[in-house]
């Protein structure tokens, strides 16, 4: 169905998802107004690691969708949109105890079932790839087809290429309806008319759509080091501890739990994270948590002792009650689409999810099975949407 030439979409939220939706809407000829309470990549997009990783995903629909999303990155890299911003790199799932080794093996089996390439890598081979790895590492799997991209760089590229003007400092307080259908949004005293509204505002979506009992903020604290290498990643892959898998698979739910990842950035720096603090939506970092993350990181990769910490920061992930993202048309309010709840997976999923949201708004089939993400599941369970 060709888009109506006059379709005007207000996209609320200029994170990676909103920027991608705006880009693909504009590419299809729609008129887009991109709004953000502060500015581009101001939320979780600008405060996350750069893992475009299938390796970390929960088995089931998330793992399958993440494979599509990573393939979408590969395509966008090849066709020029993401050129220079997406790099293939391995993820290493590492275990430091026999129990963790079992978990990693189970996760590897789940990945293989989903069609992912998974390679067992012995300690000696792993040491050859990542010299200096901690003595406690007893088992590991390599997921060779994963990749790396920085959310804020992808967001900036999407905005540049689409030439959609973004309105900063434009907090949307309300979706305005007319005859039971969205007719625009309210920004302070202003009414902005639109044919459709996409809410991709992370935790900000909660107040806008009354999703307070569905969306949970989950704070993550991280640290960035100085450069261990000049202009290239300092180690040959992304280190993901079994503790991170345990959190992603829902085995551990504890605000003091560290789901450890060591992300070698393209600058030669390391990004090390992170905590998983439910119901915390502030951006403060505290020294005991950062120190705990660093102790764990030193155990996994002792050469970090030579590094200096340049800064600590926190991002707020938006998780849904059942752990799956929410993507689809609002069940009760025509003209509104929702794209939020990507938890810590927004960088990996964001571009594809934005493209899918654009297709939904344009009335075009998304091309992949998104039924597991439909907001409908909360409507039938008695939730507000």
């Amino acid at each position: 169905m060709p888009p109506s030439p006059s379709l005007h979409v207000a996209v609320v939220g200029t994170g990676i998802v909103g920027a991608a939706a705006a880009h693909f809407l504009a590419a299809s000829g729609a008129r887009v107004t991109l709004l953000d309470a502060t500015g581009p990549a101001a939320g979780a997009t600008g405060a996350s690691d750069g893992a475009v990783s299938v390796a970390s995903k929960r088995p089931g629909p998330m793992m399958d969708i993440a494979r599509h999303a990573r393939a979408f990155y590969v395509r966008c890299e090849a066709d020029g949109l993401f050129r220079g911003l997406f790099h293939r790199r391995s993820t290493f799932l590492v275990a430091r105890t026999p129990v963790e080794a079992e978990l990693v093996a189970q996760h590897g089996a789940d990945l293989a079932v989903a069609g992912e390439r998974v390679e067992e890598i012995g300690r000696a081979a792993l040491l050859a790839r990542i010299p200096g790895l901690g003595e406690s590492v007893c088992a590991a799997l390599e997921i060779p087809d994963d990749g790396h991209a920085l959310g804020y760089e992808i967001t900036e590229r999407l905005l540049q290429r689409s030439r959609v003007a973004i309105r900063r400092d434009a907090p949307v307080s309300e979706i305005v309806t007319q005859a039971g259908r969205a007719s625009g949004v309210a920004i302070r005293q202003e009414h902005l008319a639109a044919d459709a509204v996409l809410v991709a505002a992370g935790i900000g979506s909660s107040a806008l759509l009354g999703l307070g009992d569905i969306l949970i903020p989950r704070k993550g604290q991280m640290a960035v080091t100085d450069r261990a290498a000049a202009g290239r990643p300092a180690i040959d892959g992304h280190l993901m501890a079994a503790s991170y898998l345990a959190a992603k698979r829902g085995i551990v739910r504890d605000n003091a739990h560290i789901g450890l990842v060591i992300d070698p950035l393209m600058t030669g720096q390391f990004l090390i994270g992170g905590s998983r603090e439910d119901h915390r939506d502030d951006h403060a970092t505290d020294a005991p948590t950062i120190a705990a993350i660093l102790r764990d990181a030193l155990d996994l990769y002792p050469p970090l002792a030579e590094r200096r910490v340049l800064r600590s920061f926190a991002g707020v992930r938006t998780a849904s009650r059942d752990g799956l993202p929410i993507l689809g048309l609002h069940p009760h309010l025509p003209g509104v689409a929702i794209a939020t709840g990507f938890e810590g997976d927004g960088i990996c999923l964001g571009p594809l999810m934005g493209a899918c949201a654009a297709r939904l708004l344009l009335g075009v089939p998304a091309g992949i099975d998104l039924s597991a993400l439909s907001p409908q599941r909360f409507a039938s369970a008695g939730g507000r949407p």
Binding site: Y152, A291, R311
Partner: protein, 428 residues
């Protein structure tokens, strides 16, 4: 926590004055200083194995001797920790310190804090300011105080402000007078401001003394002259100087630049005198008024805190009068030396940590958020976290650098292993 110590960060004139005043009133004090010894930038002590060659004006020596005497009288109530770097305050109110000797970070929750971390030097950037051989005049002065030895080879001192004269005179005293001192401003065209300065006593005497020292060494003091470019040529720097519409070139080994000082506020908590844990700023870190005023300001902050604790009157009229006088001097100096700034050439480096240019700064949206400036612009993201480039960026954009919220820590790069060894004064 009512009986814990009051934290004083910084052992320069303001911090020493605050610590002594608090201890004299009977309060326990924890005084932390990043260097090996107290003194701040002005009274920087020689490094081990080096003799003291730089004599400060008698007034400064007397003031510091008096402060040191007060600190020793109250030594029983002041714990001094040197080689301890303030890393900021975490999101739960812990004050964080890098104890370089113990190679670990410690956190404490003081009863109150006075932060007296001094000023940062500012410069007006020009192409080549980041080259080897160029350093700030204040940095060179500190090196001179620590080693007693001036840099070898021809030196040019350029920029604006009274520090240029002090550094040049000290270089002459140490045996290597600069080839010239270039002052960007044209003080002779602001007679009113000069007259105002003439009434200010000690400071003018100090300045005239420096000028006399420079005259004795035949060092020209050129006003209305500024450096527009520096580039390496062999082991020298080729420096282009503009005076009005005329340009000339000098070859030197070292170029010392300086355009004033600004309070060091990057990542420093906002003053909160009425908070449960009161935080006050003092000295050049609150308002850059110089060493004499810093002593008064440290005492003013201590009195304010004592009043808050019900131990003193709030008003400190003597201190306020002294600060007003210092402020009037600084205002007159700023008027006398004012020089309009033209934007630098696009290729001029702004952030040396991340290698970012003025063209890249100018390309940012006018209303860019703190995060856009940092992440998209990559300004203020490196080792200095914006402490040095922040004031330049603010001046060039004509608006204050938006602060990261909440303030980021660590304020200085800290050993990852030391931070992992965090200890706290909490019983958790």
């Amino acid at each position: 926590m009512t009986d814990g110590p009051v934290l004083v960060v910084g052992g320069g004139p303001a911090g020493a004055s605050a610590a002594a005043s608090l201890a004299e009133a009977g309060l326990p004090v924890l005084l932390v200083e990043q260097r090996d010894a107290l003194g701040g930038a002005i009274h920087r002590q020689p490094a081990p194995g080096h003799a003291h060659h730089i004599r400060l004006p008698a007034r400064h020596r007397r003031n510091w001797a008096a402060l040191t005497a007060r600190l020793s009288t109250t030594a029983g109530r002041i714990e001094i920790r040197t080689r301890t770097i303030f890393l900021g305050v975490d999101g739960q109110g812990r004050f964080l310190f890098d104890d370089r000797a113990a190679e670990r970070v410690f956190a404490c929750r003081p009863r109150a804090a006075i932060i007296a971390v001094g000023a940062v030097e500012t410069i007006r950037p020009f192409p080549g300011w980041e080259r080897p051989g160029v350093m700030t005049a204040g940095g060179a002065q500190v090196l001179l105080k620590e080693t007693g030895r001036p840099p070898q080879g021809p030196i040019l001192v350029a920029g604006s402000g009274p520090l240029l004269l002090a550094v040049a005179a000290q270089l002459a005293e140490a045996g290597n007078p600069p080839v010239a001192v270039l002052e960007r401003g044209r003080p002779w065209r602001a007679p009113g401001a000069l007259a105002q300065l003439g009434l200010s006593g000690g400071l003018v005497g100090e300045g005239l003394g420096y000028l006399a020292r420079l005259a004795a060494s035949r060092v020209p003091y050129r006003t209305g002259a500024e450096v527009t470019r520096a580039e390496p040529q062999g082991d020298r720097l080729k420096v282009v100087i503009r005076t009005g519409s005329a340009e000339d070139v000098v070859q030197v080994r070292h170029l010392l630049v300086h355009d004033g000082i600004a309070p060091n506020r990057t990542g420093i908590p906002l003053p909160a005198p009425d908070a449960a844990v009161p935080v006050l700023l003092a000295g050049d870190g609150r308002e850059a008024l110089g060493a004499d005023a810093a002593i008064l300001d440290g005492r003013r902050a201590a009195m304010q805190l004592l009043a808050r604790f019900g131990r003193a009157e709030t008003t400190t009229p003597a201190e306020e009068r002294g600060l007003s006088r210092a402020r009037a001097v600084q205002t007159a100096l700023a008027q006398a030396l004012h020089a309009e700034a033209a934007p630098p050439p696009p290729e001029t480096l702004i952030c040396r940590c991340e290698g970012r240019s003025y063209a890249e700064l100018a390309a940012l949206p006018e209303d860019a958020s703190a995060r856009e400036i940092r992440l998209m612009g990559r300004f203020g993201l490196g080792a200095c976290q914006g402490r040095f480039c922040g004031p330049m960026i603010a001046a060039l954009r004509g608006r204050p650098m938006p602060a990261a919220a909440p303030p980021r820590w660590p304020l200085r790069p800290v050993s990852l292993a030391a931070l992992a060894r965090l200890t706290t004064d909490e019983t958790e």
